[in-house]
Symmetry: C2
DNA sequence: TGTCGACAATTTGCGTGCAGAATGATAGGC
DNA sequence: GCCTATCATTCTGCACGCAAATTGTCGACA
């Protein structure tokens, strides 16, 4: 069990940040964290350094570190990167997919469909993320997979802000779109996968943007 | 000068790794590094954790950490990601460029041309990298800029292995291609920039691949 | 002679303490 | 009454020390 201390702190904090249990901007004090995890400050610091490198926390030099804020000004740039990664990972998956990866993709698609049936928004967000990560891994390019994973995780935080506004029309549409994606990947049709991935991304971007426009606090709060 | 210890170690090690002063696979011992930098092990560890998050070193749990190896098996995947980033950053730069960014781009282009004149391969590699990073920043998407920067830095290590094989035909061609790129960006022609970026990338990939094919040790050494 | 097991050495992972830096509070001057 | 300068507090950055884990070596046994 040696060497698992910092790892455990890292994973716990990462999960807490992504699931918004820790509010963006809230301070992370090393000493209170060390008391909370019943460990010394050293592994805490290592976890914070790693999270900072990932962009999930911001370290203020000689002061404290805070949970990274969700910058709504950067949202267009975020959508831009997300869309491209949707397209390229889906395209590559259509080219490089292997049977066992298709099984994994189908499994997450089933989990997502089940979450939609249960109207479980949190499970939807999580399984949707894993579904697309599985596609990215089938694409076989770790550079894209890493960036995409980071973007999807950041997206979890954004989606979590709006998950209460989910109605059940769009998620069912997502299930269908996912189904088309999987079919195109299985068929090995790169251009079709690319196009479907782009449309799927555009659809999601439109949804989030309409949610943001709906509650006008979006531009002021949660800095 | 407080808080600069770990930063200094990080920057020094990063530079040494990228410039191949530290051979890929060579072990990094915390105590000897701490003696070398005349500091405690704590800031050394912090620097190593950051480098590990960036993928520049590999940490073997409960053992030592080594300089990340250049995996030639992954080279196709690397080229794939590099090409896409070449294209997308150039395209975005054509759309979002601002005057002061164009000045910066032109400055690095001049530095690159001068390095070509001087036949200074090391300066060519460095200014080429900065030239494309400037374009990426003009594109205005930090997600792409970060990935592209990482790819270009990794490319510095690869290019450094072959910089002795540079003749002066290709670099001059690069200067011309860079000139075309800048012109297209200035004109705001996104499609042309995209295409030129892709061709420039393909050109570089071809060159590196031919170098690798030329000396047959490429597939066996430097793991 | 080859293989297995125990031991020593090296190195990391983590605990703890101290000094420096930044912030907020308080007192003094205008 | 307001602004400024000094000080106390608090937290980080770093030094140092100990214990666990792994590796390589040496010796014993088949």
């Amino acid at each position: 069990m040696r060497g698992s201390g910092a790892q455990k702190v890292y994973e716990t904090l990462r999960k807490a940040i992504l699931e918004l249990e820790l509010d963006p901007g809230s301070p992370l004090d090393e000493v209170s964290l060390s008391a909370q995890f019943d460990m010394s400050r050293t592994p805490i610091r290592e976890a914070l350094v790693r999270l900072a490198a990932e962009g999930l926390v911001t370290t203020l030099p000689n002061r404290n570190t805070i949970v990274a804020t969700i910058d709504f000004v950067r949202l267009p740039v975020y959508f831009e990167a997300l869309s491209l990664m949707y397209r390229v990972t889906t395209r590559l998956a259509a080219i490089n997919r292997r049977p066992e990866q298709l099984i994994s993709i189908r499994a997450w698609q089933a989990a997502f469909a089940e979450a939609v049936e249960r109207q479980d928004a949190l499970a939807m967000i999580a399984s949707n993320r894993d579904f697309h990560v599985a596609i990215a891994e089938a694409g076989g390019n770790p550079y894209f997979t890493q960036l995409f994973t980071r973007l999807l995780d950041e997206g979890r935080r954004i989606l979590r802000l709006y998950y209460s506004s989910f109605d059940d029309r769009l998620p069912r549409q997502y299930v269908e779109e996912h189904e088309l994606l999987v079919t195109a990947i299985e068929a090995g049709d790169a251009d079709l996968s690319d196009r479907l991935g782009g449309e799927h991304a555009a659809q999601i971007v439109r949804q989030i943007q309409s949610y943001i426009a709906r509650d006008q606090t979006g531009s002021m709060r949660l800095v």
